[in-house]
């Protein structure tokens, strides 16, 4: 059988065994949640509750400001204890609403089913998705309603659901495909209706045959939805690479998937859309994979947004040995954390605990021009040159070598035998080029 794929990429070990076969467990309710006002790419929310307020589950606590923004909601019922700047997983301080749970999980009266696909028109669907605070749950957290609202003249004809889950360790999407395939398909059909697309693909890496099987069964009666097996390769789940693998279309440099008529959503996002339509409950919980050598009992947990990371670690039996690095997200693109107080958010696909040994930096040596970085780059850059120009502060050259096209997947750094921090250097170049452009624009 031929598996769909893209050119380039690499094959890091998947490390998925510890959690791939573990059913999703409901996490113990946190006693306190910290709800950051910014859990998405775009403008932060403005808090609409104050200290002392009593809030219920699903109640809006932050109102979206601007188009690229979604509201945030309370994930527990209880009293608002603080509205203040707090450290977030992004490494910066974000205005957050702290709620002390009363343990009753009282549901906000406004939460009620929104009808079904047939009775909703596209506009209503997009509004429900926005008000439901739904963002891309693969980790990028781009507000979903924005994707569903292409500017006039752009027609979306194809939807791709991303079930690739190419990041090592993570199995949250794998589990949701096994445990809620019908919800995913329902959500997908909602998306298709919202943008009036005729065709949809659900792309899954071939290292999850059970998920492929489950999704195929769920779409057995859907003639417009096709489950496709993708070659297991990193970064198979990167948006543009996924589009190329499924449709052979190529998103223009600097462009968006909508430029080729495609919309990509994560499978978990689709399942959330189904849930919000069917029950009215906004995005207040998600599945997170807790794994890594330094955690005692790896798990797939259904966690409430705002749960402090330390609660989750405790629930997984604590450390098996002293952790050296804690990552929010996957090991290829996730963020290393300074501490365990930070709350989990809508984008927390994983919490990975590495041992001190795993956290060590290998010694760096000279570039030997082996060009492995060139052969793995999924956007066909030459990372060795961009990195070198970046280190020598020759940003004009870095720009000529198309630093801005880097999708930051980390494949180059991963394969480099000389252990040069290629991606890190490219990021520096990208930031510097963007700064320069901003200054020029002024």
């Amino acid at each position: 059988m031929k598996f769909l794929t893209f050119k380039g990429g690499t094959h890091p070990p998947t490390y998925k065994e510890p959690t791939a076969n573990l059913s999703v467990e409901k996490a113990i309710d946190p006693s306190v949640v910290v709800i950051p006002m910014q859990q998405h790419i775009g403008a932060p929310c403005e808090p609409i509750v104050k200290v002392g307020d009593y809030v219920k589950v699903g109640q809006k606590v932050g109102e979206a400001k601007g188009f690229v923004s979604v509201p945030v909601h309370a994930s527990v019922s209880g009293e608002v204890k603080a509205v203040q700047m707090m450290l977030s997983a992004s490494g910066t301080e974000v205005l957050s609403v702290v709620i002390e749970s009363d343990g009753r999980n009282e549901i906000d009266p406004s939460i009620s089913p929104k009808g079904d696909i047939g009775s909703l028109d596209p506009k209503e669907i997009i509004e429900i998705i926005k008000e439901g605070g739904i963002v891309g749950m693969g980790g990028a957290t781009f507000p979903t309603h924005v994707k569903l609202s292409p500017p006039p003249g752009k027609k979306l004809d194809t939807i791709i659901l991303n079930g690739a889950e190419c990041e090592p360790y993570l199995t949250a999407d794998h589990r949701i495909m096994l445990e809620s395939p019908d919800e995913i398909v329902y959500g997908l059909k909602v998306i298709m209706k919202a943008v009036q697309a005729e065709k949809a693909y659900i792309g899954i890496e071939n290292n999850k045959p059970d998920a492929i099987e489950a999704m195929k069964k769920a779409v057995a009666n859907e003639k417009d939805i096709e489950v496709v097996s993708l070659e297991t390769k990193y970064p198979q789940g990167a948006e543009k690479q996924l589009i190329t693998a499924c449709t052979q279309r190529v998103v223009p440099s600097g462009g968006l998937p909508m430029d080729v008529g495609v919309l990509v959503n994560n499978v978990a996002t689709a399942a959330q859309i189904a849930k919000t339509i069917k029950t009215g409950m906004p995005l207040i919980e998600r599945i997170t994979t807790v794994s890594g050598k330094a955690i005692k009992t790896p798990k797939n947990l259904l966690i409430k947004v705002g749960t402090p990371m330390k609660d989750i670690i405790e629930q997984c039996g604590g450390y098996s040995e002293k952790p050296g690095k804690i990552i929010m997200g996957g090991p290829m693109m996730g963020m290393a954390q300074q501490g365990v107080e930070v709350p989990l958010t809508k984008g927390s696909s994983g919490v990975l605990l590495f041992t001190e040994q795993q956290a060590k930096f290998p010694e760096r040596s000279n570039c030997i021009r082996c060009a492995k970085c060139v052969s793995v780059c999924p956007v066909y850059l030459q990372p060795l040159f961009i990195s070198k120009y970046s280190e020598n502060d020759a940003m004009d050259h870095a720009e000529k070598y198309r630093a801005l096209d880097c999708i930051e997947c980390g494949s180059c750094s991963y394969v480099c035998p000389a252990k040069i921090p290629l991606l890190q250097n490219i990021r520096v170049a990208k930031r510097s080029i963007a700064d320069k452009k901003r200054k020029q624009a002024k």
Partner: protein, 317 residues
């Protein structure tokens, strides 16, 4: 919870490949040919190999000590250079030939340009060519395999200025297994190919460069001789084509980095090798060809930059 956590930029996992592991693979790949050289040329071969490697490693360590740089002999690249150089020498070479060659390769060609990865020419090859020009007598005193060191001609000298293989030339079978005169490591074509295939299997080199290089020489000699397959095979198995194609044209530092560039590089090596062998003053052209192409790599790389993903005409509605 009071932990000291590492906060670094992604990716948080790195591959197992290291420079020294890749160098070790090259050494492993060269072992069969090295052992064959010792079998055919006895103790003088072992002596030259040892001298070349020891000199290369020492030269690297000393230069780095003098320049107060970290000593990087553990990356094994100096061992590879020493070994490659030794295999490029005749078994009859006096002791100072491997010593001078290795020192030149490491100090002049490699370290002066900044050490590993910075040299624009293959150090072992540059040393061989330098010495061939400086001491042609010592560098081309070819001997037949065996203990007696009877001087003999290399296969390529039989086909120099010829369009067919003369009757008194060595047998193809001997050339395949290495029972011929020549520099120590270029004699056994089959063992060199075997090692080369190991490097392909290990992902250290891509088969493209040797395949295109050897293929180009094959086609060119075939055309030149009017489709004389015997003549073609003679050119493929004789001289340093195999060691050059698998171990020197594939050298990372002095070769191209773009996929297309590497193909052009290999093709250029093939054309130049054939031209020098058939029309030049030397019976052998591999060394010169690779060095000439080495000097062109920045140029080739620049003009073969891969098209970035999505670098297409924007189809704005």
């Amino acid at each position: 919870m009071e932990e000291r956590l590492v906060v670094s930029s992604s990716p948080h996992i790195l591959g197992e490949d290291t420079t020294s592991k890749m160098m070790l693979d090259v050494i492993i790949a060269l072992l069969p040919a090295t052992i064959a050289a010792m079998f055919y040329f006895r103790s003088s071969a072992a002596f030259i190999v040892a001298l070349a490697i020891i000199t290369a490693v020492l030269a690297e360590a000393v230069v780095q000590k003098i320049r107060k740089q970290p000593v990087t002999i553990k990356d094994l690249s100096a061992v590879v250079t020493g070994l490659l150089l030794a295999l490029n020498l005749p078994a009859s070479a006096p002791w100072w030939i491997p010593v001078v060659g290795s020192a030149f390769a490491i100090i002049i060609v490699k370290q002066i340009f900044g050490g590993i990865g910075q040299n624009f020419m293959n150090p072992a090859l540059a040393a061989r060519i330098m010495m061939t020009i400086s001491w042609p007598e010592q560098m081309t005193r070819w001997v037949a395999p065996g203990v007696d060191s009877v001087s003999a001609a290399t296969p390529l000298s039989f086909v120099k200025d010829a369009t067919a293989v003369p009757g008194n030339a060595p047998e193809l079978m001997d050339m395949l297994f290495g029972n011929i005169a020549g520099s120590m490591g270029e004699t056994s074509a089959i063992l060199l190919v075997l090692g080369g295939l190991y490097l392909v299997y290990r992902g250290v080199i891509s088969i493209k460069i040797p395949a295109i290089y050897i293929g180009t020489v094959a086609v060119a000699t075939l055309l030149y001789s009017g489709f004389d397959f015997y003549f073609m095979t003679y050119h493929l198995l004789g001289g340093s084509l195999m060691i050059g194609a698998f171990y020197m044209a594939t050298d990372y530092a002095s070769g191209c980095v773009t996929p297309k560039g590497r193909m052009i590089f290999a093709f250029g090596c093939g054309v130049l090798t054939t031209v020098i062998r058939l029309f030049g003053g030397y019976p052998e052209g591999v060394g010169f060809s690779i060095l000439i192409m080495n000097s062109m790599t920045p140029f080739i790389d620049r003009f073969t930059s891969p098209k970035v993903y999505g670098e297409v005409q924007r189809q704005d509605a």
